[in-house]
Amino acid sequence: MISIRNLSHQIGGAPILTDISLDLPRGKISALIGPNGAGKSTLLSLIARLEKLQGGSVIVGNLTVGSCSNRELAKHLSILPQMPDQVPRLCVRDLVSFGRYPYHQGRPTADDEAAVEHALAVFGLTGLAKRSVDELSGGQRQRAQIAMTFAQDTEYMLLDEPLNNLDIAGARSLMALLRDLADNHGKTIVIVLHDINYASRYADWLVAMHDGQIAVEGAPAQTVTSDLLRDVFQTDADIQHIDGLPIVMV
């Protein structure tokens, strides 16, 4: 479980997050949704200690963020940051191999190499393994980044808008893979999504953020309502139910 207590954060005096307390369930997929600027990415960065905690606490499993060792945390929690504008000139295999760095510190074992090959295979990158990442399409590049996070093989995975640049096949297979990781491998996944329908279809738990606060949290079937769309997203869209799942008619 990821427990967040009284988390507040400011950037340059402007409040980004205000007194957030939240429990994200273990072994499930939690989706963070909300309009642009709601503080989703900041929340994710704080959980992953990419930003320094200013107030409040974050506990991941039994590790307290900010006081446990960085390397130890890297074996339990991985994050896919939003795609950097600058792409490294590495071949796909080398990029994915860096995901094993917390374990081997520069001296990969046979296990590490097997984990890399597995990650390449899972994301359909084996054929691209020797290509340079900067020569790939946006979607292939995104898959390579996610494969690197996957190779890190941590119990907790945080993904910031992983569906960016992916086509519908790529997006669906990624979400199905995350589902499998949660259901069959006990991974706890927190994911920032823009498309509520993906959240509704694949996530177990949904956290809607608005102006640096939690607006609503709960199972998608209860939380995705026209009230949510009006109050949080300031838009009027119809919601239909298909197989018991709320679908936003965009």
Binding site: E72, I79, D85, Q86, R89
Partner: protein
């Protein structure tokens, strides 16, 4: 890849061989057996000069490569972004305060001032918008130019202008046995960076990725800056500022072989050494028997390659 290591090693060995036999005093391969003076000439002048060019070129290319990873910008290098000028400033200050200071003291203070000016550069770069990558080298040139101007001004006031030109314009003609050996320290420093090659490659992917992989970002950056400052200071103290090697060599290698430093750093070092040694040999031959400083030759060659890089790779920074 192994092929390229061999090719680089062979090119370097070939240039070193040429370098031993090119100079004002006529020396041919056969003289080595006939003339005992020939061996003395090689031992006192030609060999030290060759080794100095090899080490200075190789280590500066490595320093440039590491700096480009730390700053995440492909258009910077220590000798044009304030590190080299900072080292010169340190030497100047020691020279004025204690004219009899040992070379070791000069080197130590130069390393410290080089580190301070590098940290200053990094602090400035942090505030630049990441969407404008070309601002970074521009600011670097202005920053380096300002510190260089301060060095010249202080030297002018202290009547040391002739003295500082030795450090500001790198050249190898003054290299003799007993006057270049500090460079071996730079070579050791560059070799040590190789142990952290993976970490520098990871830092090149940004702070978020670095932290996420369990590394201490600030610590890696600081270690890198110390290595860069040490290499720069040692080079400036012994042969002077040599521009452009640290800029063009890492760019060419990155373009051809990517950024996995564990694999590419040896190539960066070999190519930097070859380029510097080749330029030094050219500088000895262009106006024979007079010499053109290696910094001037590299300035011309490097500027041309730099422009070519700017026009060829607008996508990268």
């Amino acid at each position: 890849m192994t092929r390229w290591y061999w090719a680089g090693g062979f090119a370097l060995a070939f240039l070193s061989f040429i370098s031993i036999f090119v100079g004002v005093i006529d020396l041919s391969f056969g003289d080595l057996w006939r003339d005992p003076e020939a061996l003395r000439l090689i031992g006192i002048s030609r060999f030290p000069r060759t080794i100095a060019a090899v080490i200075a070129g190789g280590t500066l290319a490595v320093a440039g490569c590491v700096m480009q990873m730390l700053v995440r910008n492909r258009f910077v290098e220590p000798m044009t972004a304030g590190t080299g000028q900072g080292a010169a400033l340190g030497i100047l200050v020691v020279t004025i305060l204690t004219p009899q200071a040992s070379i070791f003291l000069k080197m130590s203070l130069a390393s410290v001032t080089a580190l301070v000016t590098s940290l200053g550069f990094l602090a400035i770069v942090r505030r630049l918008p990441p969407t404008q990558p070309l601002l970074v080298p521009l600011i670097g040139l202005v920053y380096g130019g300002l510190i260089g101007a301060a060095v010249v001004f202080v030297a002018y006031q202290a009547d040391l202008l002739q003295f500082i030109s030795v450090w500001l314009n790198g050249e190898f003609s003054g290299v003799l046995r007993g006057r270049y050996e500090l460079l071996w320290l730079a070579a050791a420093g560059a070799a040590l960076t190789y142990f952290a090659a993976d970490q520098f490659a990871i830092v090149g992917m940004g702070q978020a990725v670095t932290t996420s992989l369990g590394l201490n970002y600030k610590q890696v950056v600081l270690v890198g800056l110390i290595a860069i400052s040490l290499i720069s200071a040692l080079t400036v103290v012994t042969v002077g500022i040599i521009p452009f090697v640290g800029l063009v060599v890492p760019n060419i290698i990155s373009r051809l072989f990517g950024d996995n430093l564990r694999r590419t750093l040896p190539l960066v070092a070999m190519m930097g050494a070859s380029l510097t040694l080749g330029s030094d040999i050219a500088g000895r031959l262009i106006r024979f028997p007079f010499e053109v400083p290696v910094g001037t030759v590299l300035g011309v060659v490097g500027a041309a390659i730099f422009l070519w890089l700017l026009y060829r790779t607008p996508r990268y920074a």
